[in-house]
């Protein structure tokens, strides 16, 4: 197996694992972490591609994704905090007032 | 004599503005104080509409012969090929005349639901305006708009002042109508696009104008079948034809008397009118093939309505089903390529409009007096309210199509006209006539005759004042049409010729012997 493609394979795998985690876990923070994992998977793919194409646009993209991820984490954790304040739990099963 | 203002639009605009006028005091928040003035205003407006219509008719008749051919055509949405096109020929004229008369009667009728303020008149006027529009529009999209719009005022009035189940009833009414017209809507669009695709339009855009669409033979039989069925469904629900009448019992049970009268008299007629005006020219082949089935449906509807009416326990439901039965005649009449039958059908539609409105109003006053519509709580009223009894007798007699009443003219022409085409179904329809006599007389008997069955034998409660004038006017109209129908017939038949018959004659693919 060619190294580059193996990177891509790994990216796909991580992406999927992150998704599975999102479906299986209930703790909001863990969910958030899974999201981060998915983003990382994509980043990996970006970098691999940039290597394939021999330009840096992919890496630049990854840089921006990191920035965004940082902002996301700030907001996400704030949201989780405020949820915790109101529901006294960060398990998504407990924050399920809105339905149907 | 020329008419200074845009004549046809004014028929639509005047009532609409009148409706706004009714609401003006209502917005000033003192709701019932101005009730009387509003009433006078509303009557005035609808009267004005009637006068305008008469003036137009006179002018047109003076200018060019008996057949009216007034038009108003303006571009509306050129890029979609939608035009604002109104036309008044004999066909539209009789129906708009009916509209004007019925609206006037219903508006002027004194008995209206308690708590009904200015909104009552506003909605009725809106109803008049929209129904007018439906009868005048010749652009299919415009027609569709009015076709949908005319539902709303009726719906509103019913949901505002109806019985206990009024909301469910009106929802049902709405859904039925929408479900019916949805596919028609699509078919209209298909026609418009097809015209463009065939390159039949001037500016390469869509075209929805009936004459444009009708003059070109651009549909293959399959298309005609599908589109025709879609149209038919919409009108079948509107008329209503069995078995698409699911909305009717609830509506007529819940609606206030005036609204019931308005609905029964006018809304269904739009279906009849549209089949002649739009379906025959657009889908001649389909109509020619569907004719027998349509006739069957009509005839069976006559019998069905009569049978169900016989089983009813209260006056209003009986009226509802009787109107199904009577409209069956119209359907039978428009099923075949026969000027006689079709003219009869139009005439029958008009006369049924008059009669059924009169019946709903009269019966309404009886019900209000007794506080009940059950036959078991009625009876022997002829002694208590002789005048009402008299009018009810006149209208019942008209309903069973006694000669020298308008409905006889219609039914006679329909039967004689369609005998040649569908003898078997005409015979079935005749059975309906006998049953009609049975339930009508039974209803009258159980209401007016027999020992005076009265929970609290109050005197009075008889029709009086202006209402007498209204009923008398309607009765006069019914009888006058029964004795001197010639003018109206002479107006209808050429229009029918042009709109329906000739399209079939022109369509060579239809091989049918027809009887003029």
């Amino acid at each position: 197996m060619d190294p580059i493609t193996s990177y891509l394979g790994i990216a796909c795998l991580l992406f999927t694992i992150g998704g599975i985690g999102l479906c299986l876990r209930r703790n909001a923070i863990v969910l958030f972490m899974c999201v981060e994992m998915m983003l990382n998977a994509v980043n990996l793919a970006f970098v691999a591609f940039s290597k394939i194409h021999g330009n840096l646009d992919g890496q630049v993209a990854v840089f921006f994704v990191m920035v965004i991820a940082a902002a996301e984490s700030a907001i996400g954790l704030a949201i989780i905090l405020s949820v915790f304040r109101s529901v006294a739990s960060i398990e998504t099963t407990d924050a399920a007032e809105l339905k149907w | 004599m020329t008419i200074p203002w845009p004549p046809l639009s004014s028929l639509i605009v005047v009532p609409a503005l009148g409706a706004l006028g009714c609401l003006a005091p209502w917005f000033s928040a003192k709701i019932d104080t101005k009730a009387r003035f509003v009433r006078v205003w509303a009557i005035g407006v609808s009267l004005l509409t009637l006068v305008i219509l008469a003036a137009i008719a006179r002018a047109a008749t003076l200018s060019h012969g008996a057949v009216l051919g007034l038009e108003e055509a303006h571009q509306w949405i050129p890029s979609l090929g939608i035009t604002y096109h109104l036309e008044l020929d004999g066909l539209s004229f009789v129906f708009s005349l009916l509209t004007a008369v019925i609206s006037l009667a219903v508006i002027a009728w004194s008995a209206k639901p308690a708590s009904a303020g200015a909104g009552w008149y506003a909605l009725l006027l809106l109803g008049e305006s929209t129904v007018m529009g439906a009868f005048l529009a010749t652009d299919l999209v415009l027609f569709y708009i009015f076709f949908e719009a005319m539902l709303l005022p009726v719906l509103g009035a019913m949901a505002l002042w109806g019985g206990a189940q009024r909301l469910n009833a009106s929802l049902k009414f709405l859904i039925y109508t929408m479900a019916g017209s949805a596919l028609m809507f699509l078919s209209i669009l298909y026609l418009g696009w097809n015209a463009q695709a065939m390159g039949h339009t001037l500016n390469g855009n869509f075209a929805f104008e009936i004459t444009t669409l009708a003059n070109m033979k651009m549909l293959n039989p399959i298309e005609e079948l599908v589109l025709g069925l879609a149209f038919l469904l919409a009108f079948a629900i509107k008329i209503p034809m069995v078995p698409f009448h699911g909305w009717l019992p609830d509506t007529y049970r819940e609606a206030p008397h005036g609204v019931a009268a308005f609905t029964a008299a006018l809304l269904g007629k739009v279906g009849i009118y549209a089949i002649i005006r739009f379906m025959w020219p657009l889908f001649p082949t389909f109509m020619a093939q569907a004719g027998p089935y349509l006739a069957a449906a009509g005839a069976l509807a006559i019998v069905f309505g009569a049978l169900v009416a016989m089983a009813q326990k209260d006056l209003r439901s009986l009226l509802a089903y009787s109107s199904i039965s009577h409209l069956g005649f119209c359907v039978l009449g428009i099923a075949g390529v026969s000027t006689m039958a079709m003219t009869g059908a139009v005439f029958q539609a008009v006369s049924h409009g008059l009669i059924t409105a009169a019946l709903f109003l009269t019966v309404g006053s009886v019900i209000d007096r007794q506080g009940s519509r059950e036959f078991d709580r009625l009876g022997g009223l002829a002694r208590a309210i002789p005048l009402t009894a008299f009018f009810l007798m006149v209208f019942s007699v008209a309903a069973v199509a006694l000669p020298l009443t308008s409905s006889f003219v219609g039914e006679f022409l329909i039967i004689v006209g369609s005998w040649k085409l569908f003898p078997q179904w005409t015979t079935v329809a005749l059975l309906g006539v006998v049953l009609g006599a049975v339930y009508t007389l039974t209803a009258y008997l159980r209401t007016m005759f027999g020992p005076l069955h009265d929970t609290d034998p109050r005197t009075g409660g008889d029709v009086r004042g202006f209402d007498v004038v209204i009923l008398a006017g309607l009765a006069a109209a019914i009888i006058a049409l029964g004795i001197f129908p010639a003018d109206l017939l002479g107006m209808i038949s050429p229009a029918v010729e042009v709109s329906a018959i000739q399209s079939v004659v022109a369509d060579s693919s239809v091989a049918l012997g027809f009887s003029r």
């Binding site: 998915m38 793919a45 646009d57 993209a61 304040r85 | 709303l152 596919l183």
Partner: protein
Amino acid sequence: MNAFVPFAPVLALSIGSLGYLVSGQFLERARLTSLFALGLIGAAAYLIVGLLPMAPTVPHGFIINDFSKFFAVLACLGAFVSVIGTASSLAEEKIGMLSEYYFLMLTSLCGALVMIFASDFLTLFIGIEVASLALYCLCGARVTKEASSEAALKYFLLGCVSSAFMLFGIALWYGVTGGLAIAPINSAGPLVILSFVLMVVGLAFKIGLAPFHLWVPDVYQGAPTSVTTYMSCVVKVAAFAALFKIALNAFQLPTESAIGILWFLSVLAMTVGNLAALQQRSVKRMLAYSSVAQAGYILIGLVVLGDTTSVLASSVFYLTGYCAMTIGAFTVLSVLGPDADSVDDFKGLVKRSPFLAISMTLFFLALAGLPPSMAGLMGKVYLFTGALSSKFYGLAIIAVLNSALACAYYFRVPAAMLFQAPPTTEPVKVSVFSTFALTFCVAAVVGIGIYPEPLVEMCEAVAAVAVG
């Protein structure tokens, strides 16, 4: 200097919103803040209309043409009206710090504009994120209310997932083309389709198309009404702009598999949305589901996109009308107070405030596609004719049956307002701002229906540009 011109609107908005942060302490007076926001949005709109024509060039990351300008103006207009309409209800919403609130709203508008103007995927993604992140916070803005933060959480998590999908799509695009520009690609290989699917998943989520709609009802219900009002319009506009742009400029629609996807989404959206709305007692959820269904209608134009541009134009037309309807409806809700949600809250509204009741009725009639407010009706005429002309009969029939079905629930609220007795008779007072916004929406909804010609022509032009 001229190099900055293309970014003027975005700059104006962002810099202006920065003004909030510095002035945050002494700008706590609702009236002033909202006025300031309005001023900024107006300025942005003005810049778009007035300034951009001077910059026809394609600078880095941005593309300026009639298409993007139209959508940008639409977004600004939507934001403007929703801000006016809901300004006075913020106090009752107990949204603490107004300056942050407006800052975020303006920033998300800014992000929306970026989405609309973006000419490469990276910019597009950043725009999406700016808009979304701001909105996540705004959904949670009603900190004292449990539902609000719950909505924020849901929106946040799901939104992140969707942007992950979007991003993966972008990565694949980069993998195939070696660049990030939104430029025509001539291959339709599996990888291209793959990236298209992934991007569509991302955008379908933002738009709220079934089956990616599940967040919509929860968020619309949980978020402050003012925010819902805003996002129900602006987000849809931006996301649709992005979708159109990607699908037409990058993926060279129509390719049959892509059309298959969109067809599926559109049908599912309108059907699921309408069915789910049938039983709703909560007006917000009802409107949320209805927005799903409406999104399905809007998508038709892209699905049936044949050689004719006019079908896309019909989508744009319908979208425009829809913005007016939904903003109006939610504005009425916000006027009724932060917790007005159930249908019962609308009982007898006509007695308490005829203006509100009648305008709400008009909006619902428009949504149902009934006269007299014929924006919806005309939009449907336009859309379905397009569908038929491209021989998408099945789609057209499903759509029209759906719109008939929809009447069943669109009837409910007007019925409650007009035909039922009010629990209380004390009148609802409508602020000048809201009155203005509502009047504007009513005018739009009715006017577009009565005299659609100019808008139709505009949409035709826009579509022509978009299809290229």
